[in-house]
């Protein structure tokens, strides 16, 4: 099963390598990984999505907690959560097809952030499903490039 782990870490050199090394060294797999500073000085948050059975996820969480530079690990899959991912998608957009692409952009409530002669760059935010749906729809126009952040997630306020 896919799990979303929220990992609070000390923001110091090598911390990412400690976390990623733990995964690779023990044969666990990282699906997505996102890191950025929090409001607190010297503390960053990582959102890691990974796939494994219960026993593997339990090991991953315990092993993460064992790292000295890891402050807190929460398995967001166990609680109600909000999950989002941001993607930039560059799609081929010749004259005759541009209107249709823009319609889809509208329906998906995403934004065009860059326009070229025959391509558009779209910014889309949402769940993995939404991103996949958009990719599927855009594929027939020709996707030239994508860049994705990987999931970020948070526990919902009203549980």
């Amino acid at each position: 099963m896919r799990h979303i782990l929220s990992v609070l870490v000390e923001n110091e050199p090598g911390v990412l390598s400690r976390v990623s090394g733990l995964f690779s060294g023990r044969g666990f797999n990282i699906e997505t990984l996102n890191v950025a500073p929090t409001l607190e000085d010297g503390v960053s948050i990582m959102t890691i999505t990974t796939i494994g059975d219960e026993q593997i996820i339990e090991q991953i969480i315990k092993q993460l907690r064992k790292l000295v530079t890891v402050i807190k690990v929460v398995d967001l899959t166990e609680v109600k959560n909000v999950e989002r991912e941001m993607m930039l998608l560059k799609v081929a957009a010749e004259e005759g097809k541009r209107a249709e692409i823009l319609r889809i952009v509208d329906v998906f409530r995403c934004k065009v952030v860059d326009v070229g002669f025959d391509e558009l760059t779209i910014e889309v935010t949402g769940t993995q499903d939404k991103l996949t749906a958009l990719i599927n729809l855009m594929q027939r126009f020709g996707i030239k490039e994508t860049a994705r952040t990987g999931a970020v997630a948070m526990r919902r306020s009203m549980q």
Partner: protein, 566 residues
């Protein structure tokens, strides 16, 4: 008053009560070495190879329970310690490794003798540091020692650039350590302890399965008390040997691949296993699905990652083994009283006695005039010393015989590389232990293969008058691999025959140590006695039966009751 980084390091070591460091100098630590003569309370042992230094620090730590310290230069000096760091990591041994690093402006430039040792050792240290700011040095050393010995102990490396050693700042050694992400859990859950006491009382066929955690947490007194009061048989892993008296009737012997018949069958027939400070290593469990399949599993470990890693656990307890054992003894007294005493264990013990009598550890005695049996050498060492010594081992057949045919009665009397199985460990580890206890008899049980991996440390032993005794069971083979080739690889003895070996007697003498050779059984006892009485380091080379195997043996992947017996 301002001190240099080198002085701050040495002052800090003093605050941590370090009395000896094992090291090897080099350009990147020369500033530290420059200061060492100013710290007369700190003894420095100059080794001949950095692998020796780390194993010595490790052996010192295993024998004393204190933190072992080693000091090496950058680059090759640092990488030479990696095997030893991994060894200490696998066996949870507290060591602090100080490595020199190129000056900070050169880091990342492929400078002379530069290596990313923090990166290299990340997977085999409990934690590691690169100190780039002199004002953080004292705090880092404090943290390193705290981390090394608290929770599940382990090696911690501090990488110290040359310019930081030379910079100056006010020395202020912190009193406390505050690490947000590190809070080992020591106290056992009271309800869980009660539950264990009740299970233990009810159990008809309980077994205690003790590991190295019992020794590192000093839980053996309480464990022995529990076992003896309630008649619970005890088996231990290689790392746990010595945590329970090896001459007690409740002692089952070691379990696992080369464990005793009684231990392996007790585990397989147990209805309750109390696993204390052990981690269900594959050398112990054999085929996992058949390991203790009839038992309710109670597992106590300070490290939560050890629990549920390999086997299903019915009662998991994250705690310090000693605190758990103390609590369990209290609860047991209460439960046993309330529930009108425990289920008597007589029948179970009778069954165990039968197993022990029917299938004791044994070997075919030497034929008349035939070669000496290696097992008999270990037995002779036991008989002569009465078990009152520290044994270290190399790795392989010698290690298993030393584990099987010697009754360890006290913790910290067997120093052996359990998890990593590091050949070359035993001799330097013995030197480390001897440095801690100059008056004790320290014996390295070695094979002719392993001993050659760190043999150069003979110079260290001789130089510092550390009278370590090396008993080489010389069978002319890399014996354990040869045994596997014999049993599972059609006797294809590829690269396991050591045709060319040094003359160990001459080798010892060349280093200024004493050398003895035994080729006939009748000379064994006398020579060992003579060697043990020699006040300097010595090698006793015993020429043993080259084709002797370690039995019992459980083939890899088989259930632990599927044993090949003698």
């Amino acid at each position: 008053m301002e001190l240099t980084g080198a002085q701050i390091l040495l002052e800090s070591l003093g605050r941590e009560g370090v009395d000896v460091i094992f090291g090897f100098p080099g350009g990147a630590v020369i500033d530290i070495y420059h200061q060492i003569p100013n710290y007369p309370n700190l003894k420095h042992v100059l080794v001949r190879h950095e692998q020796g230094a780390i194993h010595m620090a490790d052996g010192y730590a295993r024998a004393t329970g204190k933190v072992g310290v080693c000091l090496v230069t950058s680059g090759p000096g640092a990488t030479n310690t990696v095997t030893g760091i991994a060894t200490a990591y696998m066996d949870s041994i507290p060591v602090v490794i100080i490595t020199g690093q190129v000056p900070t402006p050169l880091i990342g430039n492929d400078a002379f003798q530069e290596v990313d040792i923090v990166g290299i050792t990340r997977p085999c240290t409990k934690h590691n540091y690169l100190v780039k700011d002199i004002t953080k040095l004292a705090k880092t050393i404090k943290e390193a020692f705290f981390l090394a010995q608290s929770g599940r102990p382990g090696p911690v490396l501090v990488d110290l650039p040359k310019d930081v050693q030379q910079q100056r700042c006010v020395f202020n050694y912190p009193k406390k350590v505050a690490l947000r992400g590190y809070n080992p859990h020591y106290d056992p859950n009271v309800k869980q302890v009660r539950k264990v006491a009740e299970l233990l009382c009810k159990a008809k066929h309980p077994v205690i399965y003790a590991g190295g955690g019992v020794i590192s947490s000093s839980a053996s007194k309480d464990l022995t008390k529990l076992a003896q009061t309630y008649n619970i048989p005890v088996t231990a892993t290689l790392m746990g040997l010595g945590c329970f008296p090896g001459d007690d009737p409740l002692w089952l012997g070691m379990l696992g691949m080369h464990g005793t018949f009684a231990a392996n069958h007790s585990i397989s027939n147990a209805d309750l296993i109390l696993a204390v400070g052990a981690r269900f290593d594959d050398r112990v469990t054999g085929k996992l699905s058949e390991f203790a399949s009839k038992a309710t599993m109670v597992h106590i470990d300070i490290d939560p990652t050890s629990i549920q890693k390999n086997v299903r656990v019915d009662v998991p307890i994250v705690a310090d083994c000693r605190l758990f054992m103390e609590a369990l003894n209290r609860e047991m007294a209460d439960v046993a009283q309330q529930k009108d005493a425990c289920v008597p264990k007589d029948k179970w013990l009778a069954q165990i006695t039968e197993w022990k009598t029917k299938h004791p550890l044994k070997y075919k005695p030497a034929a008349k005039g035939g070669p000496i049996k290696p097992q008999s050498v270990v037995e002779a060492i036991y008989k002569i010393t009465k078990g009152d010594c520290i044994i270290s081992t190399e790795v392989g057949q010698n290690q298993m015989w030393a584990a099987q045919f010697f009754n360890y009665k006290k913790p910290r009397t067997l120093l052996t590389s359990g998890g990593l199985g590091t050949m070359g460990f035993g001799f330097p580890a013995a030197i480390g232990a001897q440095a801690a206890f100059p008056e004790k008899l320290v014996i390295d049980v070695a094979g002719d293969g392993s001993i050659q991996m760190c043999i150069q440390e003979l110079a260290t032993a001789v130089c510092y008058n550390l009278p370590v005794k090396i008993v080489i069971l010389n069978n002319g083979y890399l014996g354990m691999v040869r045994q596997w080739q014999e049993l599972f690889y059609d006797k294809n003895y590829c690269s396991t025959c050591l045709d060319v070996a040094p003359d160990f007697v001459k080798l010892a003498e060349a280093y200024g140590a004493a050398g003895f050779r035994v080729t006939e059984a009748k000379d064994l006892d006398a020579t060992l006695k003579k060697a043990f009485a020699t006040p300097k380091a010595c090698i006793v080379e015993v020429v043993v039966d080259p084709e002797e195997n370690v039995y019992p043996m459980v083939p890899a992947g088989k259930s632990i009751t599927e044993m090949i017996l003698v």
